[in-house]
């Protein structure tokens, strides 16, 4: 069992932090000696049945209300803006393929990505530019953020629904498993260029 003094400090730190915090960030603040990760595990366990729960999202810890109480709390808050179908698809494509270039998003969706779509995802703090692809034209790549994991209740990217199956079935590859001349096909038909 972890030192109760350390547990109290960790509890207060995660509670007061203005964003989900890593173990390293917590460690920088605690004054009591001990294993911060163990203290977090103990805390998460003690909070599990409560109305507030302690969760880990992408290596960062946060308190949030228990998911089954959403119906109680939704009434206290104004609903967030709904996402367009294009935004949801684009977010899914980035999350499951990251890092993904705009051309890859367009190739999968079969339409150009309207300028607003990626902006909305970036403004929400879910998607961010993640360097350039070392390929002709050095296109910008996009990836999801730790905030995406936290906001969608994902412990990490392996938690993405069905990602293991999709990977196994080859649907996250850039070309069908048969190895058909994918480029010719995309250029000739499905990929619309404007």
């Amino acid at each position: 069992m972890t030192d109760p003094g350390l547990i109290r400090e960790v509890e207060a730190i995660v509670f007061a932090a203005d964003a989900p915090v890593t173990v390293a960030e917590i460690t920088r603040h605690v004054t009591a000696a001990g294993d911060v990760a163990a203290a977090l595990a103990d805390l998460a366990e003690s909070y599990a049945p409560r109305g507030i729960v302690l969760v880990e999202r992408g290596g960062r810890w946060l308190f949030q209300t228990a998911p089954d109480l959403g119906h109680v709390l939704r009434r206290t808050r104004t609903a967030p803006r709904k996402l367009s179908r294009a935004a949801v698809e684009t977010l899914a494509i980035v999350a499951y393929h990251e890092p993904a270039t705009r051309a890859e998003i367009e190739d999968i969706r079969g339409v150009t990505v309207s300028p607003g779509t990626l902006d909305v995802l970036m403004a929400a703090g879910w998607v961010h530019p993640a360097g350039r692809r070392e390929s002709p034209g050095r296109p910008l790549q996009f990836a999801t953020t730790p905030g995406f994991l936290a906001d969608f209740g994902l412990a990490d990217r392996r938690d993405l629904p069905g990602i293991a199956d999709l990977r196994a079935s080859g649907l996250l590859d850039r070309a069908p498993p048969s190895g058909a001349s994918a480029g010719d096909f995309a250029g000739g038909g499905l990929h619309s260029e404007r």
């Binding site: 730190i13 509670f15 007061a16 932090a17 203005d18 915090v21 960030e25 920088r28 603040h29 946060l62 308190f63 949030q64 209300t65 228990a66 998911p67 959403g70 709390l73 939704r74 808050r77 609903a79 967030p80 709904k82 996402l83 367009s84 179908r85 294009a86 949801v88 698809e89 977010l91 899914a92 494509i93 999350a95 499951y96 999968i108 969706r109 079969g110 339409v111 936290a150 906001d151 969608f152 209740g153 994902l154 993405l160 629904p161 069905g162 990602i163 999709l166 649907l171 070309a175 069908p176 048969s178 058909a180 001349s181 994918a182 096909f185 000739g188 038909g189 499905l190 619309s192 404007r194």
Partner: protein, 268 residues
């Protein structure tokens, strides 16, 4: 374009609306048609799908709907694919039409998978929808405290530096604080002048408040008296040990001519 993510992502399978604004491009239409076949996407008939798409485009034209160019490009390409698939197999064909059909099937499956993934993401316990956080957390603060690094050596060397800095002006001042021999020679010769009467040498000493200066003047004036006497320009007399030292001029001379000559040879 649907702005409501809670609405079904796919169009109802049987009734394909011709309102083109509801579709996000030709691939979206193809996927809608494929889902309408009510079979696994892996088992769809590409030929049937092509026919359905071409019929969809024909209907749209009949209704004089304006079709975006990419819908027509897709229609043309699918018509070409269909003709290739219906021809007897040609091993020379490049690309192989069957590979193209596979590729189309892959694209439909992939888009479908991403739609499904998006829907499953939205179904998770989302922040602001199912889970809620604190509205205005205080935040954590790391404050850098003001500790200063300084060692005894720094203090001592700083003080040494100050002392050395102060020493430089002091040396020049101390030099002015003594009556140098050449100065004393010039001064004594001028003061004694042509005085033929015996006069106590101490009467010629400068009056100064500074003890150190007075002692310096006593020494240099005494030496000056000895030097002037050696040159034969003054006489010196003393009645007894520690008695007053008396001095008088031998020959009155213009002081500066003599002093210049002697100052060079007897500087110390």
């Amino acid at each position: 374009m649907a702005d409501d993510f809670d609405a079904p992502v796919r169009a109802p399978p049987d009734t394909l609306t011709l309102a083109l604004g509801a579709w996000e491009g030709p691939l979206d239409v193809l996927l809608g048609l494929a889902r309408a076949q009510k079979v696994d996407l892996k088992a769809i008939s590409i030929l049937a799908l092509v026919d359905q798409y071409l019929a969809f485009i024909a209907d749209a034209r009949d209704l004089r709907l304006e079709l975006a160019a990419d819908y027509l490009v897709m229609a043309a390409w699918l018509a070409y694919l269909k003709s290739c698939l219906l021809l007897p197999p040609d091993p020379q064909a490049d690309p192989d039409p069957h590979d193209l059909a596979l590729r189309l099937q892959f694209q439909l499956q992939r888009l479908d998978a991403m739609r499904e993934a998006g829907a499953r993401l939205l179904a998770r316990d989302r922040a602001g929808h199912d889970t809620f956080r604190r509205v205005a957390p205080e935040g954590l603060r790391l404050v850098a405290s003001r500790t200063f690094e300084c060692h005894l050596y720094d203090v001592l060397s700083a003080y040494g530096g100050i002392v050395r800095r102060r020493e430089r002006p002091e040396y020049s001042i101390v030099r002015r604080d003594v009556l140098a021999l050449d100065e004393a020679l010039e001064r004594l010769a001028r003061l004694v002048g042509g005085a033929r009467d015996w006069t106590d040498l101490s009467a010629y000493l400068p009056s100064a408040p500074d003890e150190a200066y007075r002692r310096s003047a006593l020494a240099s004036t005494f030496l000056a008296a000895l030097e002037l006497t050696r040159q034969g320009r003054t006489d010196l007399a003393q009645a007894d040990a520690f008695a007053p030292l008396l001095v008088r001029a031998v020959i009155p001379l213009p002081p500066h001519t003599v002093i210049l000559a002697n100052a060079g040879g007897n500087g110390d």
